[in-house]
């Protein structure tokens, strides 16, 4: 029940991200999604609770709920942008694409021969949906901050997928993945700052020509 609730929240936050034009609100939504996902391994393996899961939950919540948003808000403040003005795909169309992706994820999730150790039948579909929504955000938005958010959502999807098979995944691998995501967001934060300083904007569609 608890895990189902979390997974439905993940689906809803993804849809909210597709519909939201305000970058600050989007960052908060991704932070909330990260925090909720941090609780997922604890709730999913409530009968075999150990230090491993507790450490993973704490690490995830601290990184995805606090550190990443902080880095992104700093990048946002330095770049002085608040909203995505003209995305490649509009917000209402984005929601419709998201719904189609959700239907596809559920269709696919029912056919994949994955053993999720009986955590929840929603786990694989919502993980797939996070991955698709993240990819779509990266493709359909112009602002660099939104693309970082898409990358984070994509990573959240892979993380959700991992929770289902967590018993077989070594602790070190998970730490490595978290560290990779951290480095990526850190580098992107700096990159956004530099792009903004060089070009006075962070619209990636105008970065396909050299300056001058």
């Amino acid at each position: 029940m608890g895990t189902n609730l979390i997974l439905v929240l993940v689906v809803l936050t993804n849809l909210k991200l597709l519909a939201s034009s305000r970058l600050g609100a989007s960052i908060r939504v991704v932070a909330a999604q990260g925090m909720v996902l941090g609780l997922l391994p604890v709730l999913a393996h409530v009968h075999e609770l150990s230090l491993h899961f507790a450490a993973m939950a704490l690490g995830t919540i601290a990184l995805k709920g606090v550190v990443f948003p902080w880095l992104l808000f700093r990048a946002l403040r330095e770049a002085e942008v608040t909203r995505e003005v003209e995305p490649y795909v509009g917000y209402i169309s984005s929601i419709l694409v998201g719904l189609m992706a959700l239907a596809a994820s559920f269709w696919l999730g029912g056919r994949l021969p994955v053993t999720t150790t009986g955590v929840s039948s929603l786990l694989v579909p919502s993980a797939l949906f996070s991955i698709l929504a993240g990819l779509f955000l990266i493709v359909a938005r112009k602002r660099a901050v939104n693309q970082v958010l898409g990358f984070l959502v994509l990573e959240n999807g892979i993380y959700t997928f991992g929770v289902g098979v967590v018993a077989e995944t070594p602790f070190l691998v998970e730490l490595g993945v978290l560290l990779d995501a951290f480095v990526a967001v850190f580098v992107m934060g700096i990159a956004v700052y530099h792009i903004n300083r060089e070009f006075d904007h962070i619209e990636t569609d105008r970065l396909d020509r050299l300056k001058g």
Binding site: V8, L12, I92, L99, F106, G109, S121
Partner: protein, 302 residues
């Protein structure tokens, strides 16, 4: 036919204008005013019914038919909606299609009557009404389809009876999503605040009110009363999902009534704390309601 089946219809006929009274008193209370009497809308209806009607020479029979067809459609729709454990007067498989169709007919005649006046303002209101309802209707259908799938029933009376209680424990997320979507549909269909402001009298921003500007006297009373009935029916649907069911049918009826007036208080609070959305943002809200309902449908389909 069971005599008890008349109870939902009778309660709707008698009590529906009271919902507006509760909403108005809630808004007045939150704004620090004393507000109009709870029964003010009954007085208004009585006053309007005793008046004569004035018709412009540019209007045709369509203008006069609008309020009457609207009221008739609302009355028939009221015979289809159950309350608590009491089934509706008329119940047959797939009657929710008739319910949605009657609401559509009501809206169509309001729109046609508005266009018949030839006023440009009413044309604007009609255009907005049609645009927004094109977005709320899919959401309403997906909500009803989800409930039909969840309960395995195809009639409004049987569909809403088994919901709540054990279902909330088993399929809580689905029902919560359905309630959220249905609540947004309720606010949009009844021209309440995030979508339309019932109090404003600036023609450029109104939707429902601007369409009925030229109606007066008994015609306006009909429109007011059918709007009250429509709000009552949607409130009954929401209360039917949310409230827990007990074994005692009369207790359930009381709970449902309490829930509906509680819902009126909630609407009053929403209207007090929120501003009306910009017209450009309203479609996003309505598509969002449809999206939430679709998520619920997908969750039940797996």
């Amino acid at each position: 036919m069971n005599a008890l089946a008349c109870i939902p219809l009778l309660l709707a006929l008698v009590l529906s204008p009271l919902l507006f009274g509760v909403i108005n008193r809630t808004k007045a209370f939150l704004a620090g005013r004393r507000g109009q009497p709870l029964l003010q809308i009954y007085f208004d209806l009585w006053k309007l019914l005793r008046k004569g009607a004035v018709y412009s020479r540019t209007t045709t029979w369509l203008f006069r038919a609008g309020p009457m067809v609207g009221l008739a459609a609302a009355l028939i729709a009221a015979t289809l909606v159950p309350l608590g454990n009491f089934p509706a007067l008329i119940a047959f498989p797939a009657d929710f299609l008739l319910f949605a169709g009657l609401l559509g007919l009501m809206r169509f005649f309001t729109v046609v009557a508005a266009l018949d006046t030839g006023s440009s303002f009413e044309g604007m209101g009609a255009s907005r009404e049609v645009f927004f309802s094109a977005l709320t209707e899919p959401a309403l259908f997906v909500v009803l389809a989800t409930l039909a799938r969840q309960t395995g029933q195809l009639s409004l009376s049987t569909m809403f009876e088994p919901v709540s209680g054990a279902d909330w424990l088993r399929a809580g997320p689905v029902l919560a999503l359905v309630v959220i979507a249905l609540m947004i549909v309720l606010l949009a269909e009844n021209a309440r605040i995030p979508v339309d402001d019932p109090n404003t009298h600036l023609e450029l921003t109104m939707i429902h009110e601007v369409m009925v500007l030229d109606h007066g006297g008994p015609d306006f009373a009909f429109i007011l009363y059918s709007a009250a009935l429509k709000l009552w029916l949607f409130a009954a649907l929401v209360a039917g999902i949310v409230l827990p069911a007990t074994d005692n049918a009369w207790l359930n009826l009381l709970l449902a009534l309490g829930g509906m007036f509680g819902l009126a208080v909630v609407i009053g609070v929403i209207e007090s704390v929120m501003a009306r959305l910009r017209l450009l943002v309203v479609p996003q809200l309505l598509v969002g309601a449809g999206a939430v309902a679709t998520v619920a449908l997908i969750l039940t389909l797996r």
